[in-house]
């Protein structure tokens, strides 16, 4: 009997403590969904910044250098989280990450979060320009230079055939998160090709390396700046010239696109709250601005020399004080 009573008492006590903790914790009022930072942030009194890393190495390089300088020059603790591009915008709007350092252009999200809701502010240009296209390996282009014009691609369809391409040539596409018009392009340019989606950049890179190892021909959607070019030299296939007219029609009806991809100056974005109250960290991130060569230098150290991102960043920082000194607030 006595034990039963203590049991009940204890349970009651625990329930009461739990409820109290819950109420004090949440303040019993409205929960602001726009201000919920990561539970790992600012632990133990450290000032911390959470950066979003995208899945490609160029983006890792930006973050690695920013992280190194924030930690060693400005005394912050930096947390990094890898998120796909669109979810990253979402996270940025809620303050779960503080900044995206490399954005390839998301008009819909810019409209919603930057212009309408003002939860995100532009952080200026990164200094690097991105370009998407179709590429073939250099060893193949050297032997068959006419493959570099899209008009001749059908001639090579048989050469690019694989088990997955169903009798047509294979056009290897990558991660579903990347911007692609390839379906429309294949259709509108009347190409005898089947798009095979590798499903992730990792799978695509692995497949490209595997092809390169056995010197097999392939045609792939790819982009620069990218470290893989250093390991597998590739040459771009010329698609019909990019024009504003084609692009404007493409925005209205994506299935009508029949021209090459544009070149995009990459942008930074900050959480609005962080931009205002982020002190030195936000000032620093706004000033962060470097070149494709700088980025590739770090990327190559990470991806092909097998260095950790932090070591690569350290090496670059030590070699280029003239570049980053200007970023410090």
């Amino acid at each position: 009997m006595a034990t039963a009573r203590t049991h009940r008492l204890r349970r009651l006590l625990m329930a009461a403590t739990g409820a109290t903790a819950l109420l004090t914790a949440t303040g019993c009022g409205a929960a602001d969904m726009t201000k919920q930072s990561s539970p790992y942030a600012n632990v133990g009194g450290a000032k911390s910044v959470t950066l979003s890393v995208q899945s490609w190495v160029g983006a890792q390089s930006n973050v690695a250098v920013a992280q190194y300088l924030l930690e060693h020059e400005l005394g912050y603790h930096v947390d990094t989280v890898q998120v796909d591009e669109i979810p990253a915008w979402d996270a940025l709007s809620q303050g779960r990450v503080d900044a995206i350092l490399e954005d390839w252009g998301h008009p819909e999200q810019e409209q919603r979060y930057v212009k309408d809701k003002k939860l995100i502010v532009p952080g200026g240009g990164l200094g690097v320009t991105g370009h998407i296209g179709w590429w073939v390996p250099k060893y193949f282009a050297d032997a068959h230079p006419d493959v570099l014009d899209w008009k001749n691609l059908n001639k090579y369809a048989k050469t690019f055939k694989t088990a997955e391409s169903g009798g047509k040539g294979q056009l290897l596409d990558g991660s579903p998160s990347y911007v692609t018009n390839d379906k429309a392009l294949v259709k509108n340019l009347k190409l005898n090709y089947q798009i095979v989606f590798a499903g992730s950049e990792a799978a695509q890179i692995t497949q490209i390396k595997q092809f390169a190892k056995s010197k097999k021909p392939f045609l792939s959607y790819w982009y620069e700046p990218q470290w893989l070019f250093n390991q597998v030299p590739m040459v771009e296939v010329k698609l019909p010239k990019y024009t504003d007219k084609c692009a404007n029609e493409g925005t209205k009806d994506p299935e009508s696109i029949d021209c090459a991809y544009p070149t995009t100056p990459l942008q930074k974005y900050l959480n609005a709250d962080f931009a205002k109250k982020g002190g030195k960290a936000s000032a620093f991130l706004k000033k962060f601005h470097w070149t494709k060569e700088d980025q590739n230098e770090v990327s190559e150290l990470i991806a092909s020399k097998g260095m950790s991102a932090q070591d690569a960043a350290k090496k670059w920082v030590e070699a280029h004080p003239d570049v980053w000194k200007k970023w410090l607030p």
Binding site: A25, T26, A30, A31, D32, M33, T34, Q36, S38, P39, Y40, V43, G44, S52, V53, S55, W56, V57, Q60, D79, T80, V81, Q82, V83, D84, I86, P87, A88, D90, A91, Q94, R96, V97, R112, K117, L119, T162, A163, E164, S175, P176, S177, V196, F197, A198, G199, S200, E201, A202, A203, Q204, I205, T206, Q207, K209, Q210, S214, I302, A303, G306
Partner: protein, 673 residues
């Protein structure tokens, strides 16, 4: 609490159900006697239906694929729903006063655990958990714990390990509580059991990637979304096994307890729950395993921790780094699993004879506390709270070299058996392509009829109806062709998984040594995040459907092996003994005693094989399997609710259909239990 409330009304209901099941038991023999005429009658009905409907369908919609006229486009409403959520998330009351608080509580909970772990420091955490493991599970497991945490530190993964641990503590607790309550309801009430079943089926079959997107939209990116996605995935096994344990309680014991005048509550607490202890613990164990396997998937939406390190390593195609982050996940799983398993075995036992006296009762717990505090303080004085940076071992380089070596030597031109590249090409050419063409070539009404016939032959008309409706729903959603593609991939992978799984399972059931040797390997395959072996499978099998199949088989195989082994082992020893005394050979024992008696377990293995292979369909999308898996990924990556949810729903429908086509008999058994 809710179980207590519903209890009086459900108690009488359980009794008739139990007697009803006794009547059921006589049915199979009756059924088998008339099975031929019965089956023929069912088929005849279907033929009549077909003769009437097929010409109409054919005349109206002649195409082989699902006719456009019969589809419903849901992209409009889904698009509007997602816009509404994004526009109202920071103003509408349902977010401000409900969802927002849920995510706040999760953030606070995870943060509290994380801060506590950091405050203990590496020394305190390692010492404390080792002592706890020693206290509840014995010396051997304590050593395992110590070594495991040391390895996490040595691999340079201390901080991410603590982040994952914090996330797991909260997610597993929530899953066990929610799953346990559901299971309690399902175990005590026939009605609740029936209502829950399809819900649990859906929760388990729905690919995690498909609900990541809605979860993210509502609860936001990062930890809250990760925890909730984990709970959705990890609670069902707890619920299922709790219900199974409660329903399977020995009727004789219950009767005895009742006759002693025990109240309902006493019966539950003193008889039913203790009798179900094994299932409850298996439930906790499965929940932990599934929760940890979600750790990486959750990283796709910013869950952080070890999963995030694996995911980041993937982007630079670094298997070594991915493994360095994946190993701690496996070690955490092993430590938690073994500790809880051993603790469970000790519950209810008299305190161990021998063993130091100090290890008993509250003084022991106090001792654990004191030593932990002391070690924590010493650790603090010694310096770093996180693992000392100098004490790490880099395994990345050798692992990557080994992977390269393996790929170089297995990819092509291996004498006699051929290289993996040839296997992949053959698998695609001789199994997948014909299967896909077959499925896509059969007119849609033909597929519906086949499904109906299969489900009806082994089940009831209700089963057939569910299966057919699930197939029809796929057509209505407008994803018929990709679904047939996915179905062909699933069927082929399940087939290979079952062949391998049964063979290894039977083998392991005969040799305890083999089983013991395989245990850590199976643990590893089951908990090693699939992302870690994505790169090796692509390197070995190229991009496409073959690596996807390889990933699915690796993932589903351990469960099939485990269930098969356990099913064979649990066969009534008396039956085996009598067979042996009659002079049956090993083979005869296996075929005529063990396999028939283990049939429920084998059917469960088939079912789990289907469920797990389906769970990896989306992972297959990451390596180029295309079809529904890719669509789900596309939806998540582009924030496109329509594409992602429709493809996810189609996967669920495929799962329901496959479940009904493979499982009706076992369901009848369960009901009788």
């Amino acid at each position: 609490m809710s179980a207590t409330a519903t209890r009086p009304s459900t108690d009488p209901a359980t009794e008739p159900a139990a007697t009803g099941s006794a009547a059921d038991e006589t049915r199979p023999s009756l059924l088998s006697a008339v099975v031929h005429s019965h089956a023929a009658r069912k088929l005849a009905v279907l033929v009549v239906i077909a003769v009437v409907l097929v010409p109409i369908a054919h005349a109206k919609w002649a195409s082989g694929s699902w006719p456009d006229a019969l589809t419903v486009d849901v992209s409009g409403p889904l698009g509007r729903a997602s816009d509404w959520i994004l526009d109202n998330r920071d103003s509408h009351w349902i977010f401000l006063y409900f969802f927002g608080h849920i995510s706040n509580v999760i953030i606070i909970g995870v943060r509290a655990v994380y801060v506590a772990l950091l405050a203990l420091g590496w020394a305190g955490v390692t010492a404390g958990l080792t002592l706890v493991a020693w206290r509840v599970a014995g010396v051997r497991i304590a050593v395992t714990t110590l070594v495991s945490f040391a390895v996490c530190g040595l691999l340079g993964m201390w901080v991410p390990t603590m982040q994952t641990l914090a996330l797991m503590v909260i997610a597993v607790t929530a899953s066990v509580v929610i799953g346990g309550l559901l299971g309690l309801a399902g175990g005590l009430s026939e009605w609740a059991f029936r209502v829950q079943r399809p819900v649990l089926d859906t929760m388990q079959v729905l690919p995690a990637f498909a609900y990541l997107l809605p979860v993210v939209m509502i609860f936001g990116n990062g930890v809250p979304g990760a925890v909730l996605a984990t709970v959705i995935y990890a609670a069902p096994p707890m619920a299922r096994l709790t219900a199974l344990g409660l329903r399977g309680a020995d009727a004789g014991v219950l009767e005895a307890v009742t006759s002693l005048g025990a109240t309902w509550r006493q019966r539950l607490l003193s008889a039913r729950l203790p009798l179900a202890r094994k299932e409850l613990l298996l439930g906790v164990n499965q929940t932990i395993m599934m929760a940890l396997s979600m750790a990486v998937i959750a990283s796709v939406i910013g869950g952080g921790g070890l999963g995030d390190r694996v995911y980041q390593a993937l982007s630079s195609v670094d298997v070594g780094k991915a493994l360095a982050a994946g190993l701690p996940i496996v070690l955490l799983a092993i430590v938690m699993d073994r500790t809880i398993g051993a603790a469970g075995e000790r519950i209810g036992e008299p305190p161990a004879e021998g063993g130091p006296r100090l290890l008993r009762g509250w003084p022991a717990w106090a001792g654990v506390g004191v030593i932990t505090v002391v070690v924590t303080l010493v650790g603090r004085l010694a310096g770093s709270q996180t693992w000392p940076t100098g004490w790490t071992v880099a395994i990345e380089e050798p692992v990557n070299q080994f992977k390269e070596w393996m790929v170089d030597h297995l990819y092509t031109g291996v004498p006699v058996v051929g290289g993996t590249a040839e296997w992949a090409a053959d698998y695609v050419k001789w199994i997948l392509d014909p299967l896909r063409e077959g499925l896509q070539g059969i007119p849609w009404y033909g597929i519906l009829l086949i499904v109906a016939a299969l489900a009806w032959l082994i089940g009831t008309w209700g089963t057939a109806l569910t299966a057919t409706a699930a197939m029809a729903a796929i057509g209505v959603l407008g994803v018929w062709a990709p679904s047939m593609d996915t179905l062909s991939q699933v069927l082929a992978a399940v087939f290979v998984t079952l062949v391998l799984g049964f063979a290894i399972g039977i083998w392991a059931a005969r040799s305890t040594r083999l089983e013991r040797m395989m245990r850590p390997v199976l643990d590893m395959f089951q908990t090693m995040p699939q992302f870690v072996y994505l790169i090796p499978v692509v390197a070995l099998f190229g991009v496409g459907r073959a690596p996807a199949a390889a990933a699915a088989i690796v993932y589903a195989l351990p469960a099939v092996i485990r269930i098969t082994t356990q099913g064979l082992r649990n066969v009534d020893p008396a039956a085996l003994e009598s067979a042996r005394s009659l002079g049956a050979t090993q083979g005869q024992q296996l075929r005529q005693v063990q396999l028939p008696l283990a049939r429920p377990a084998l059917l469960l293995a088939v079912n789990q094989g289907v469920v797990l292979v389906l769970a990896v369909v989306v992972i297959g999308g990451l390596v180029g399997s295309g079809a529904l898996g890719y669509d789900v990924l596309f939806g998540l990556a582009q924030g496109d609710l329509a594409t992602g949810l429709v493809a996810g729903a189609a996967i669920v429908c495929l799962g329901l259909m496959l479940d009904r086509v493979t499982q009706p008999t076992s369901r009848r058994d369960k009901k009788g239990a």
